[in-house]
C-alpha cells in the first residue's frame, strides 16, 4: 500500500505543478462584460437620481450589492467552466485562483465594514481603495491569467490612485468614481479574455 500511496502523492504533486503553471480558462468575456455594463448602469441610475448619492451608506450599499452579484456571477461561471475545461486539474486550479483573489476580496470587505461602520467620514477612500485591491488581485493571479491582463491590473491601479486623489476634494461620493473605473475596467478585462480565447482557439 505504501508504494501506491507514494505514487498517488507523486501524481498529486505533478498535477498541482501543472495547475500552477496553466492558464485558468474559467473566466469568460461575456460575464466580465456583463459586470462592467452593470457597473455603468448603476452609476447612470445613481447620477440620474441625486437622492441616491446623498446618503453615503445607501450609495455604498448599492455598490456592495453589485459587487456581491458580480462576484457570484463570475465565481459560478468560473467553477462550471473550469470543471468542464480543466477536468482533473479543475479543483487544484480553482483553489489556486481563489487563493490569489480572496485576500484582495477580504481586504475590500473588511475596509468597507470598518470605514462605513466606524469612520463614515472617511468612506470617500473606499472607491479608490477597492480599485487598488482589484488591481492587486489581478497582479497576484497573473501567472494563471492571459499575459495581457497586466494592462487591466495597471488600469485598475492607475484609476484607484486617481480616484483616491480626486475623491479627497469631493464632499459627496460621485457615482462615476465607481462606474467609470469598474465599468471600463471590466470591459477591458472582457476584451483581453476574448482576445486570449481567440488566440488559443477556445471560446
Amino acid at each position: 500500500m505504501h508504494d501506491v500511496e507514494t505514487a498517488l502523492s507523486d501524481i498529486e504533486r505533478i498535477r498541482d505543478q501543472l495547475a500552477a503553471t496553466t492558464r485558468f480558462r474559467g473566466f469568460t468575456p461575456s460575464i466580465a462584460a456583463t459586470t462592467g455594463l452593470l457597473a455603468l448602469a448603476l452609476a447612470a441610475v445613481q447620477s440620474a437620481q441625486p437622492g441616491l448619492t446623498g446618503d453615503t451608506r445607501l450609495y455604498f450599499v448599492a455598490w456592495i450589492l453589485l459587487a456581491i452579484i458580480s462576484g457570484c456571477l463570475i465565481g459560478a461561471d468560473a467553477v462550471i467552466r473550469a470543471r468542464a475545461l480543466h477536468r482533473g486539474m479543475a479543483e487544484s486550479m480553482i483553489n489556486t485562483t481563489l487563493r490569489q483573489f480572496i485576500p484582495a476580496g477580504a481586504a475590500g470587505a473588511v475596509s468597507a465594514l470598518v470605514l462605513l461602520g466606524r469612520a463614515p467620514e472617511a468612506a470617500w477612500l473606499l472607491p479608490g481603495l477597492w480599485q487598488l485591491l482589484i488591481a492587486l488581485g489581478i497582479f497576484a493571479g497573473l501567472s494563471n491569467l492571459p499575459r495581457r491582463m497586466i494592462w487591466a491590473a495597471g488600469c485598475y491601479f492607475l484609476c484607484g490612485s486617481m480616484t483616491l486623489a480626486l475623491n479627497s476634494a469631493m464632499t459627496a461620493p460621485s457615482p462615476w468614481a465607481m462606474g467609470i473605473p469598474f465599468g471600463f475596467g471590466q470591459l477591458l478585462v472582457a476584451a483581453i479574455l476574448h482576445d486570449a480565447g481567440k488566440r488559443c482557439g477556445h471560446g
Binding site: 505514487a7 498517488l8 501524481i11 505533478i14 505543478q17 501543472l18 503553471t21 492558464r23 477536468r87 482533473g88
Partner: protein
Amino acid sequence: MMRASGADMAEDRKSAPFAYDGLDRIFHEKARLGILTSLSGQPKGIGFTELRELCGLTDGNLSRHVQVLEEAGLIAVHKGYEGKRPHTLCQLTEQGRARFADYLDVLEQVLRNAARVTRPKGANKRAPLPKTV
C-alpha cells in the same frame, strides 16, 4: 490520432472500468513521462541541456523523444541563440497540458483500483479508502 474526449472516457469507464483507454502510449513511456513532468512546472520552457540533465538521457535519446512529443503537438521546440551559442527551448503546449492532465487522471484511477483490488481482507477498515471508478 483519434483521442477520446473526457465525457467519452467517463462513459467507457462505466462500461469497461479496467480498459484504461486514456493511458495514451505516447505518455506511457518512462523517458517521455520524465520530459513532460520536467516541463509541467515550467511555463516558459526548459533548455535542451537542462532537460537532458533532469531526465538523465543522452542527447540522441532526448532528441528522439522530443521529436515524438513535438509531432504529437504536446510540446513546442523553439530553436534560437543564447548569445552566440545555439539554444533549443522545449515548452509544453496548451494541448499537451490538457492531455497530460487527462493521462494523470487515468493513471491515478489505475492506482486507486489496484489498491482497492489488492487490499488485504483483514485490512484496517478505518484506513482511508481509495476513490472508486
